[in-house]
Amino acid sequence: MKTSTSFKIAAAFCCVLALTACSKKNTPDLEASTAGQAAPGSEKDFAVNVGDRIYFSEDQSTLAPEAEETLRKQAAWLSQYSSVTVQIEGHADERGTREYNISLSARRATAAREFLIAQGIDGTRISSIAYGKERPVAQCDAEQCWSQNRRAVTVITGGAKTS
């Protein structure tokens, strides 16, 4: 009981601090503000200023022009920060069967990986994994969510600068 009470007090104290911090800064768009401050070569820099994910059409693994654009930016960034290693996670939406979706997401991860290699990134820096439909990001029961789940996400696994 004692720990729980002191935890509550600590939590309340943190909230007060957080509120003060916010009001002092007085920035209308906190998200954009921190994004701009991401240290170059950091994970945050990659996610916010480059874009860590691309999307696919239903039951497809071909790269759309927007996807290629994102991958070109990823390749440029990876060329600049040559000690960074990444893993590409392939994903599928829930509107498919389990085993097929695992294969389909492997195909998507492979498409992204091969594009990066074609852009000059050493293949030994890029691993891949296929999650099938097991790790959706959007959960609603509609195409607007399923389209967000048909994705390949480039995740930094090492060598990034700490921000």
Binding site: D59, T97, R98, E99, Y100, I102, S103, R135, V137, Q139
Partner: protein, 441 residues
């Protein structure tokens, strides 16, 4: 729950079978269920409360309940409510008063008794044909009291077989994936339960993502896919010891495993870049053989019961379709030609059918077709039904049904091969990827 004396049960069952005295069934008036048609009229059956004594009261009540539930859930029997019974059976050795059972429309009657005998539970039952006034089956079991549910299932199996002419499937288990937590971070555990949903227990701790468990033919091992290591792979697990091992160190992901009918091999998909092909691994020699070599997705392999052929899915023609090939990889032939995508094929234990998932017009169905692709029948259709598995007698299928949306998740269902008698399986939480065991005895 474990059954350390499984072997003992087997022995006792075998012994009991030797001692069985099955009355001859006069064919002209015998009670039996016709399973050749579409909708089956359930046979009214009275299961008299088992007589008990010497501290076996609870076992008697449980066994009567297990038998009644098994037969009722099958859809082929209509267990009559005990409060409608006119005769209260008080002596197991005496013939029942058939007139009083005929009066409540019972076609068959089960009587039994359970008592403790030197620390062991002894159960006996007799199956009576009310029309012919004949005893048509009788059997006796001796076991540890904690196996009382299994004895109930074994008795239900004998009754089912006697009256339908088909092997029962009640003394079986189901391995599945137990699912908890939010949809974007599901915790998945391998789990096992009795065929009726009792005795569920987890086989893994949920730390690693696990998928598609399948039984070995002796029901002692499962093969499944796990994301435990850096590369997702196919594993084996002994159900009793929980000891696990990787099935082969391949450069890329291995998935979609299934045992061969003789238990000596595992067939699975190996990923190579954007393609997946089917390989067979010999568990003793660890030798591997490639069966498909097509730049496409080839997965979901399942052997014919005689082990001579393999059914699988492939999108080599543009969309997921079902193919059959010889076990040496020759003669790869497409068999699904309906409107839509076909996947997750599973050969029935009697060899007569292939069950599948079908996607068409935004719906996911479970269906069956003959191994040559003819005679397609849809058993259930809806938003999302997937992954059929067969009961060992080939009469019942289990699958999972997803409800969409944020709070949605999968549940297990069973359905008769006729498409009737769909029933939700009781599971502790959300559940997916069911696989039915062979018969345990």
């Amino acid at each position: 729950m474990r059954f350390p004396d499984d072997k003992r049960i087997k022995f006792l069952v075998a012994l009991a079978l030797l001692l069985v005295f099955i009355g001859l069934r006069p064919a002209w008036t015998a009670t039996e269920i016709d399973l050749t048609g579409g909708r089956i009229t359930p046979l009214p059956i009275a299961i008299a409360p088992f007589l008990t004594g010497d501290g076996a009261e609870e076992s008697g009540a449980t066994m009567t309940e297990v038998i009644s539930n098994d037969l009722g859930r099958s859809g082929y029997f209509n267990p009559l409510p005990p409060d409608s019974f006119i005769e209260q059976v008080t002596d197991f050795t005496q013939e029942p008063r058939f007139a009083s059972w005929r009066q409540i429309q019972a076609k068959a009657l089960v009587t039994g008794q359970v008592f403790m005998d030197g620390g062991k539970l002894r159960a006996e039952f007799r199956l009576w044909d009310v029309n012919t006034q004949q005893q048509i089956a009788a059997q006796q079991f001796t076991t540890s009291p904690k196996n009382m549910r299994r004895i109930g299932h074994l008795i239900a199996d004998v009754i089912y077989k006697q009256l339908t002419g088909i092997d029962g499937y009640f003394d079986t288990r189901v391995v599945f994936v137990d699912e908890t937590g939010p949809k974007d971070n599901r915790v998945k555990k391998l789990a096992i339960m009795d065929q009726d949903g009792f005795n569920p227990r987890a086989l893994t701790d949920g730390k690693d993502l696990v998928l598609t468990p399948r039984f070995s033919p002796n029901a002692q091992e499962i093969t499944y896919m796990s994301f435990a290591g850096a590369t997702p792979r196919v594993y084996l697990m002994n159900i009793d010891t929980k000891q696990r091992e990787i099935v082969g160190e391949f450069p890329n992901m291995s998935f979609s495993p299934r045992f061969s009918p003789d238990g000596q091999k595992v067939i699975m998909s190996l990923q190579d870049g954007g393609n997946s092909n089917i390989y067979e691994l010999d568990l003793r020699s660890r030798g591997i053989r490639q069966l498909t070599n097509v730049p496409s997705i080839n997965t979901g392999p399942s052997y014919s019961p005689d082990g001579s052929q393999v059914v699988f899915e492939s999108d080599r023609g543009g969309t997921q379709q079902i193919y059959v090939m010889s076990v040496d990889g020759s003669g790869q032939t497409r068999i699904s030609f309906g409107d839509g995508r076909y996947s997750t094929p599973v050969w029935s234990p009697d060899g007569k059918y292939i069950a599948f998932t079908k996607q068409a017009r935004g719906q996911f169905s479970i269906g069956v077709m003959k191994p040559d692709g003819s005679g397609e029948r849809i058993l259930t259709e809806g938003f999302h039904n997937e992954g059929p598995t067969w009961a060992p007698n080939g009469r019942v299928l289990m699958f999972f049904r997803e409800s969409g949306g944020e709070g949605g998740g999968p549940q297990l269902y069973s359905v008769d091969i006729t498409g009737y008698n769909e029933q939700q399986m009781p599971t502790p939480q959300f559940a997916s990827d069911p696989a039915w065991s062979p018969k345990l005895n």
